[in-house]
């Protein structure tokens, strides 16, 4: 086969990238080598468009044990315990084949976590679909939810929180972002850096098949009408094998046999072997005939590029082979010594005793292309003037009813019920609250996690949007009483070769960095998914943020359901009535322009920290952050969950009730406190210069906005719960 520019282009490489490869190798690569370059140099694996910008993110902090660059990030939660966590996208495959795409997304992220020695203790996900009216949406929702459940449930890891949204910009490109948290002892964390010469390289797990070849390249390209042809690039998941792999790896990790371990995820054997060698500044030699294959006559090219799931690569200490083999035999998994580490600093592959590839590692990693792509700044849009006329015919209860049943607000119970939320026996806050919470088994500690994104804000003004999501993540953790520690990000964007999309990316990342730096809420892991685009239509910029926080005493955890009649409700944080880009403005007034709410990082931090002080003193009975849909939506959800009502006070300022109730100003929480604590709470808030307003009083069964506007909790429940179930059963 003659390798030329055309073959390179078919592999998703650019002309000048191909020329660069020839220059680096001082020859033309053969087909296996070209395959390897294309796998390592695609956007998904090389971060070539994003790297320059990502390096500005804050990644360090006193609780950070491991930042980006490993299989997942690691944070310290005290007493020798650490949490390993990461979020990752599986967008492209999930659109092509929703069940397997989503399932293997969940499988992949769990593998990233247990590769580091941690037992997964919680899963989360952030999933985004096209307009409910779009013909593909319903099947995609069903397939993705079944896939996530199918994998996570079988693994026996609870799914504790998530986010689902619908927006027409996802019609041709859905998003499936999966996040996993794992628990590990600080001195038992495993890394992917190989060390030592002549160490055996071990392949364990499933056999290698022809599935998922070029998966990572597929995920680095836009979709067109030939999308059906891409089905074979989607991997097929086997959660049962992964469960065995998890148990076998943890059993082996209990001893001291492993030098380095890396899961075979995107770009399979190629990226796992190269990453381990590269980090250790070593070479690696592999005999491809030793790789356990599922199908006959697989070529070196196919073996290297397969993305078959549930596989791991391990560099073992010499002499530990038998011990390790025994463990994998016990769990009925393949175990093969396929190669060794070398001093050549090259990857050399042999097949039928012929050398089929020989590439210096640095050409694949350090010399991979980096692009400083052109990008366009987004100006802050002008505020929209809304005439009094537009409000005139609106009735507050009608609006509330519409908003509660809006696909982006309504209850997602239909989804959560399909996920096992309680296996492992430590889930103390299930999906539907501000954050999911699991106890650290056998201790008084608990870990809270939440996943958030605000594509509309990011689309209107990426810089503000980027800041906002980090703040929302922080707030969701605070609202359950957790001290926020760190985040992981999944950056879903359109085509980076387009200046506008690139600009969205650059400014979202900048905003994200500013907020996480200010809040001391560093980024410890993540991934970038570009090319979420079909032909020339791209998605709204959708960075998803997974936040993790610690509750030192789980008995102090706070939930959002209203607890007791006559308790007092406060809105903490200033309400300015910002309705541009709010759900109210977009869906009720049909006004899609204007700036997103402003972010005041000082207030955000101060308000949050003060709430934590109140929780620490047991002064808060329930709490909920105010976000999409404003105060009245947040309060309604508290009513619904607690099966209690509330009698509201007339606001002291802001005459326009719609602005007051539906505005989406940031940095706000609704809290429920006891009557007798009122003075004390006010004093603490005032002492910390935190603005607050009295919102009302808890009652038994009605939401009473004023004399004319009352609604029973049963009616609120109806508005909130039915939409998704009805939609899916039609």
């Amino acid at each position: 086969m003659i390798i030329g520019e055309q073959t390179a282009i078919e592999h998703g490489l650019k002309k000048d990238e191909f020329n660069k490869i020839c220059k680096l190798l001082k020859r033309v690569p053969n087909i296996t080598e070209l395959g390897i370059f294309s796998a390592m140099w695609n956007e998904h694996c090389s971060y070539k468009s994003s790297r320059l910008h990502l390096k500005n993110l804050p990644t360090k902090g006193k609780n950070v044990i491991q930042g980006p660059g490993e299989n997942a990030g690691v944070i310290d939660i005290g007493d020798d315990d650490a949490i390993v966590f990461k979020i990752e996208s599986h967008n492209h495959p999930s659109f092509i084949e929703p069940y397997q795409g989503a399932a293997t997304g969940v499988g992949g992220i769990m593998r990233d976590v247990f590769t580091m020695g941690a037992r997964p203790i919680a899963n989360l996900n952030s999933i985004h679909f096209g307009s409910p009216q779009h013909k593909k949406t319903k099947n995609l929702v069903r397939g993705v939810v079944h896939g996530i459940g199918g994998y996570g449930n079988c693994m026996g890891v609870p799914t504790i929180a998530g986010q689902t949204s619908f927006d027409e910009s996802y019609n041709g490109n859905i998003l499936v972002n999966a996040m996993t948290l794992g628990l590990v002892k600080k001195n038992k964390i495993f890394y992917s850096k190989a060390a030592g010469l002549g160490k055996p390289v071990i392949y364990v797990g499933s056999k290698t098949g022809r599935d998922g070849i070029h998966g990572a390249s597929m995920a680095s390209a836009i979709f067109d009408e030939k999308i059906e042809e891409k089905k074979p690039t989607v991997q097929v998941g086997d959660p049962f094998t992964e469960k065995l792999l998890l148990e076998a790896c943890l059993e082996l990790m209990a001893g001291d046999s492993i030098i380095a371990i890396q899961d075979m995820g995107a770009a399979g054997l190629t990226s796992s072997s190269i990453e381990m060698a590269s980090k250790g500044n070593l070479g690696i030699e592999i005999n491809l005939n030793k790789v356990p294959c599922r199908e006959a006559k697989m070529t070196p090219y196919e073996i290297m590029l397969s993305e078959s799931q549930e596989r791991m690569l391990i560099v073992l200490e010499n002499g530990k082979e038998d011990l390790a083999k025994k463990i994998f035999d016990k769990w009925n998994l393949d175990f093969a010594i396929i190669g060794k580490t070398t001093k050549t600093k090259s990857i050399k592959l042999f097949f039928d005793e012929i050398k089929v590839a020989d590439i210096p590692i640095n050409t694949l990693v350090e010399n991979s292309p980096t692009y400083d792509r052109k990008w366009k700044k987004t100006k802050i849009p002008k505020k929209i003037k809304i005439s009094k006329e537009q409000f005139k015919n609106l009735k507050i209860l009608n609006v509330l009813n519409k908003i509660l049943s809006n696909p982006n607000i309504c209850s997602k119970e239909w989804i959560w019920q399909q996920y096992d939320q309680t296996v492992m026996g430590d889930t103390i806050q299930k999906p539907g609250g501000d954050a999911g919470v699991v106890r650290v088994h056998g201790t008084n500690k608990a870990v809270a996690a939440s996943v958030d994104s605000s594509a509309v804000y990011c689309w209107a003004h990426p810089l503000s949007g980027g800041k906002q999501i980090v703040c929302e993540s922080w707030r969701n953790l605070i609202a359950v009483g957790a001290k926020p520690i760190a985040i992981t990000n999944c950056l879903n964007f359109g085509n980076p070769e387009n200046e506008e999309n690139m600009g969205e990316f650059v400014e979202c990342v900048q905003g994200l960095g500013e907020a996480s730096s200010y809040l001391d809420f560093p980024v410890v892991s993540g991934n970038v998914s570009f090319y979420n685009q079909t032909k020339d239509i791209g998605i709204k910029p959708t960075p998803s943020i997974g936040g993790v926080g610690l509750i030192k005493d789980y008995k102090k955890m706070v939930t959002m359901e209203l607890k007791e009649s006559d308790n007092i409700l406060l809105v903490v944080g200033k309400t300015e009535g910002h309705i541009d880009q709010s759900l109210f403005s977009r869906d009720i007034l049909n006004e899609k322009n204007g700036p997103p709410p402003e972010i005041n990082l000082f207030n955000e931090k101060n308000n949050g920290e003060t709430i934590l002080k109140l929780i620490e003193k047991n002064l808060i009975k329930s709490a909920h952050d105010v976000s999409l849909g404003g105060i009245i939506t947040a309060l309604s959800k508290m009513c619904i969950k607690g099966r209690k009502g509330a009698t509201l006070k007339k606001p002291k300022y802001l005459i326009n009730l719609f602005e007051y109730f539906f505005g989406e100003d940031q940095g706000r929480y609704i809290i429920e406190i006891k009557n007798e604590d009122f003075k004390n709470v006010c004093q603490i808030l005032e002492k910390n210069s935190v603005h607050f307003d009295e919102l009302g009083i808890v009652n038994e069964k009605e939401l009473i906005i004023d004399e004319k506007s009352k609604v029973t909790i049963d009616e609120l429940i109806k508005s909130h719960t039915n939409w998704l179930t009805n939609y899916m059963s039609k």
Partner: protein, 227 residues
Amino acid sequence: MNSSVITFPGSNCDRDMDVALKKFGFKNKMVWHNDNELPKSDLVVLPGGFSYGDYLRCGSMASKSKIMKSVINFAKSGGKVMGICNGFQILVESGLLPGVLLRNKYLEFICKNVFVKVNNKDNSYFKGISKDTLELTIAHNEGNYFCSKDQIKEIKDNNQVALSYCDENGKIDENQNPNGSIQNIAGIFNRDKNILGMMPHPERMIDQALLGEDGSVFFKNLINNIR
């Protein structure tokens, strides 16, 4: 009191069951599916999960595993065997309990809290239990209990229905049936009531922080009866 929890490849509630049994006073041992012999046990538990991946009918592979021979002998000689969720499926597949567990009526996995009515307290699992209805978690894809007309008549005649899905007041009707089970059956006994299979997971509700403690009610009573 000695108990044994069997771990099959793919079991994922085995640890949770171990934690629960120990919390309420059992001396529990974990037993590997490939072992031949059961340790000395007053109670054997088949836990939830996806034994052997459940790629065939749920529980069918596990019912043929090595350890099951001793479990079946143990059960047939009157030993107490309890199967939860996948464990219930395994008991049915081994022929230790009548009927089958089909896919849920709406073809979806369901995880939520349900109420179940305790139908028969004249046995060592529920004798003396302080409550008539329990709130427990279910989490399954194949919990739709089914059997033939003759079998259901026999089950009823022998008082073999252990638990039925109901509302919080113990009322049994179709609205409370989460998965389509015949006559709302959530758990059954064998004829002699030494074998119990049930879909709900009592081991997931064993302390206050877990949004319900009826699992504790069940286990406290159980160890008292076995003692």
